[in-house]
Symmetry: C2
Subunit: 191 residues, 2 copies
DNA sequence: GTAGTGGCTTGAACTAGATTAAGAAATTGA
DNA sequence: TCAATTTCTTAATCTAGTTCAAGCCACTAC
């Protein structure tokens, strides 16, 4: 399956655009291949693209004043990623997005997305549903962060993303879980 | 300002509906007054309404198996609240939403919202923008939960919601911050 | 080969924040 | 008005998770 077929498949699950709309949408996309370790976006730079992952795996992380990385999200095929705040406000991003494995992404430039929504408002619905679902996921993550122990969070992570552990170095999983790699090591030993 | 004027004011900041659309939107809304302590939604019941607060203050919390409450959100005038997951899936809600002070809300029933979006797709844009903004806020909260100390989180909360501390019992603020009331007490003494 | 580098583990000492228990202060209510 | 309930504080003890320091294992590069 080509990467454009893949994203159309994803879209058709939520809305039913006509062929003309689909064609226009696809024409706005910018396919990019990333090798492992390469950056899709860097903290400090303004984000111009909304990113859809079609193959591989990316992660988005925040680097605080002390230089510690906090992983916000992993994104595999079918996910949208990128810094929404920077994309909306056109202020420098606070996030870095980087390939954890050789990956393929589709860039949707902000200005192109605005054109799309202007011309074919049907796509508002698609993005509304995407954001709405994402919001539920984020709410769950906040609850989990506050109410579950590190060990519970790790096991929930394994259940939810069973294949991620092969892809992703443990230190990034630790960061995603909000713990140190040392402590994750201890949790894993127990089992 | 009436509560319907208030919500229209809020909507006009994001989209520009024509009078006919505004009128239809307003006709879908169901104004409700809540006394302090009353419930807008209860955990265990299916959520049928999306809620817009026009006066007062509500809070939404999650109760875990041990019976501990975790406050997810405070909502004052101008905010949307409610359990998106239950609203979308029509499964029983895991959240309770309750008035912290005498309040006024506008209920937008799920089925009515669907009618609205069907008939006037322009409103998709409004909700898309709402969810998009909310997502940014939630992302920030996740970062804060993992990278900031309880003390920093408390001071950030004070900065961000300067009036909330008068409204809201401290134990709920502690819960929102993910700490015990005892520890919040210690933090406050220091200052 | 072996020197380097990054990812993972181990253990000892430490700390942010929880738990428990009690008392003080503020609200409510008949 | 005074008892009852709820909210807030204080202090002692305890624990989940951090920090620091070291060692181990793969993998790469000269």
């Amino acid at each position: 399956m080509t990467s454009t077929n893949q994203i159309l498949f994803h879209i058709r699950k939520n809305i039913t655009p006509d062929p003309k709309e689909e064609q226009f949408f696809v024409s706005l996309l910018n396919p990019v291949k990333l090798k492992q370790g390469e950056f899709a976006e860097k903290a400090g730079e303004v984000t111009y693209n909304f990113i859809h992952v079609t193959a591989g795996c990316l992660m988005t992380y925040y680097t605080d004043k002390q230089g510690n990385d906090q992983v916000i999200q992993f994104a595999t095929a079918g996910w949208w990623t990128g810094d929404l705040h920077s994309l909306t406000s056109q202020q420098p991003s606070i996030y870095t997005t980087r390939a954890l494995a050789d990956s393929e992404i589709l860039q949707l430039p902000k200005v192109r997305m605005e054109e799309l929504l202007e011309r074919y408002p049907r796509f508002e619905r698609y993005f509304r549903i995407m954001f709405q679902n994402s919001l539920v996921t984020h709410q769950n993550r906040i609850i989990e962060a506050f109410t579950a122990t590190a060990e519970e969070r790790y096991h929930n992570f394994q259940k939810k993303y069973p294949h991620m552990e092969q892809y992703v170095p443990l230190k990034y999983i630790a960061s995603y879980l909000g713990i140190t790699p040392e402590f994750l090591s201890k949790i894993r030993r127990k089992k």
